[in-house]
């Protein structure tokens, strides 16, 4: 089975993605991750204004199979949270790179996007 791994973002080994452009970036989980998890039934996210730290957990995604922490690709301050997920967690399965985004973060000055996996590296990992 092949999974989508859009070229316009970067990834973590633990299957999170982040966009890289603009004042604020978005975090989410990959197509591979949503497929592994199966039907997502519950999502727990931080509040706007909270700080997240690269490599540390910032939320929880619960499916019928497992409860998983999700990790921040880069450090920064949360500026928006995808509240649609609270009523419709299935968006994570249906559109993991679009409507299924998790949080929007204003990256810290020292946020290091280059340390993250490139789309090619991530594809190698999941294949």
């Amino acid at each position: 089975m092949s999974f989508e791994t859009p070229d316009d973002r970067r990834y973590l080994e633990s299957h999170e993605w982040t966009t890289t452009d603009g004042d604020a970036v978005r975090f989410g989980i990959s197509d591979f991750a949503q497929d592994e998890l199966g039907d997502v039934v519950f999502v727990e996210l931080p509040d706007a204004g909270d700080e997240v730290t690269a490599g540390e957990e910032f939320g929880v995604v619960e499916s019928i199979k497992a409860v998983s922490d999700v990790y921040a690709p880069v450090s920064g301050e949360v500026v928006a949270v995808n509240e649609d997920l609270f009523d419709a967690p299935e968006l994570l399965n249906q559109d993991p790179y679009g409507e299924g985004w998790l949080i929007e973060v204003e990256p810290a000055a020292d946020a290091d996007f280059d340390a993250l996996l490139s789309p090619d590296d991530y594809r190698d990992q999941i294949e």
Binding site: D39, V41, F42, I64, K65, P89, E90
Partner: protein, 477 residues
């Protein structure tokens, strides 16, 4: 499929049957004389008004929609779903035992004698020196045991020990227990044989180690052969060795945790001694300890009086306090006592031997691979690239309860199977047939299973996303 709604929701005219008095009313005025504030009261309540046969049929129908050990094989690995002999119910129902616990020791000598006897039985079976019967469930027993271990360390000026080591394959309650007791959990990987990795253990222990929690045989049924070395490593670092009694039923009469070097343990009386599984109801999870830890046990315990003429309650000197009222759940404990008393030494050893024999016979008959062995009272088969939950649901169609699925995680698509000692050969053969047929069925059949049960495949996703938690939510369907 017809879900049987609670019958009192019917709006039919009141029905009476000859045995019930005609004076029963549908509604009762409850307002009068109520001491409650007005906003909390109702003018009237509707009470059920059904005939006795209707009630009997309603509950019998519900029971038939369910699966139970009294209906057939129930090989749920780790859970040990064994038959609860009915004589223990008779013993528990004896009105002579129905005394309120808040009475003087002198007036409840019979009760105390049974409790003392059970403490002694359990101490002997586990190789422990002292036992508390107070914890109301296995998980509560774990918590009590680890709290006792913590009190012991604190009393020795070693309260700074901050870590509890738990094998990756352990029961989830072990991790929860350690965390709830305020410890950091250190997860220990298994070696390639599925047992504790001694090198990893050496690396994990330190002056921070408070305890290692271990299940033996472990959660895939393997005996930890290196238990002596394990005990030396943990004790060498100043830690205590905790025995999770979940699988003690495999060792009865053949091995005792105390002899292996364990310092503290809990007993799952529902698994080992055939008391009912709690399921949130009253249960019991006694805890045994070696002498050094006895003074920290919960209060009260029961002992013989100095003169030896009777029994009394007493408070251990440096008790951690109470974890439940009085001496624990008496009506569960007396069933465990009765079971042990009736089986005796030979009977208990025989139960363990048959549990191991049954698991090994069943395992041999399966077409599924069993990656780890030699196993004792349970085994973790794998359904390979077939989804274990699908195979399990299909087994329901073949008239048996499936095993525990997808746990422990060290086995891919695990089907953790424990037939217990109660099944005979033909029942084990039926189980094997159900396993093998389900495993051989095509994908489509598996994905649509079960279809010969009261309820077809449950839509887990919808249930989790839109839970409907009362009968009212079923209205209009």
């Amino acid at each position: 499929m017809i879900y049987d709604q609670a019958s009192y929701t019917r709006e039919e005219e009141a029905q009476h049957e000859p045995l019930l008095s005609e004076k029963d009313e549908t509604t009762v005025d409850v307002r009068e004389e109520s001491p409650l504030p007005e906003e909390l009261t109702r003018d009237e309540v509707t009470l059920p008004e059904l005939s006795e046969p209707e009630i009997a049929r309603h509950y019998t129908r519900l029971s038939q929609m369910n699966w139970a050990i009294d209906a057939g094989a129930y090989p749920l690995g780790s859970c040990t779903m064994k038959y609860n002999p009915k004589f223990t119910e008779d013993v528990a129902a004896n009105p002579d035992g129905a005394v309120h616990p808040d009475r003087s020791s002198r007036s409840v000598q019979g009760t105390l004698e049974v409790l003392y006897g059970l403490q002694e039985y359990l101490a002997e079976i586990g190789g422990m020196d002292a036992v508390t019967l107070q914890p109301p469930a296995g998980a509560a027993g774990e918590f009590t045991g680890i709290r006792v271990a913590k009190a012991y360390h604190e009393a020795n000026g070693e309260g700074n020990r901050s870590e509890v080591i738990v094998p990756a394959s352990a029961h989830g309650t072990n991790f929860a227990t350690a965390a709830l007791a305020g410890y950091d959990v250190v997860e220990l990987p298994s070696d390639e044989d599925g047992r504790v990795d001694l090198d990893a253990l050496e690396a994990a222990v330190s002056e921070d180690t408070a305890a290692l929690m271990l299940t033996n045989p472990n959660t895939v049924g393997l005996f930890e052969r290196d238990i002596t070395e394990i005990a030396e490593i943990v004790h060498g670092a100043g830690g205590l060795l905790y025995y999770d009694g979940a699988n003690l039923n495999a060792l009865l009469g053949r091995g005792r945790p105390g002899d292996m070097g364990f310092d503290v343990m809990h007993y799952n009386v529902h698994k080992t001694f055939a008391t009912p599984h709690g399921g949130g109801g009253p249960g019991a999870g006694p805890v045994g300890v070696v002498d050094e830890l006895a003074e920290f046990l919960p209060t009260p315990r029961v002992r013989e009086t100095e003169s030896g003429s009777g029994y009394e309650r007493f408070e251990p000197e440096r008790t951690i306090g109470k974890v439940q009222g009085f001496e624990g759940n008496w009506l569960v404990l007396i069933k465990a006592y009765a079971y042990i008393a009736r089986l005796g030494d030979e009977g208990l050893a025989d139960a363990a031997a048959k549990a191991v024999l049954n698991a090994n016979y069943l395992g041999e008959r399966l077409d599924l691979e069993i990656p780890y062995g030699p196993y004792h009272h349970e085994f973790a088969a794998t359904s390979g690239d077939r989804d274990a939950a699908d195979v399990a649901k299909r087994m329901l169609d073949y008239g048996v309860h499936p095993p525990t699925t997808k746990w422990p995680e060290m086995v891919h698509n695990a089907m953790l199977t424990e037939p217990t000692e109660i099944e005979n050969k033909s029942s084990l053969d039926d189980l094997a047939t159900a396993f093998n047929r389900a495993f051989a069925d095509d994908d489509e059949t598996l994905e649509n299973a079960p279809n010969r049960t009261t309820a077809a495949r449950i839509d887990q996703t919808s249930a989790a996303r839109n839970p409907r938690l009362s009968w009212q939510a079923l209205d209009g369907e």
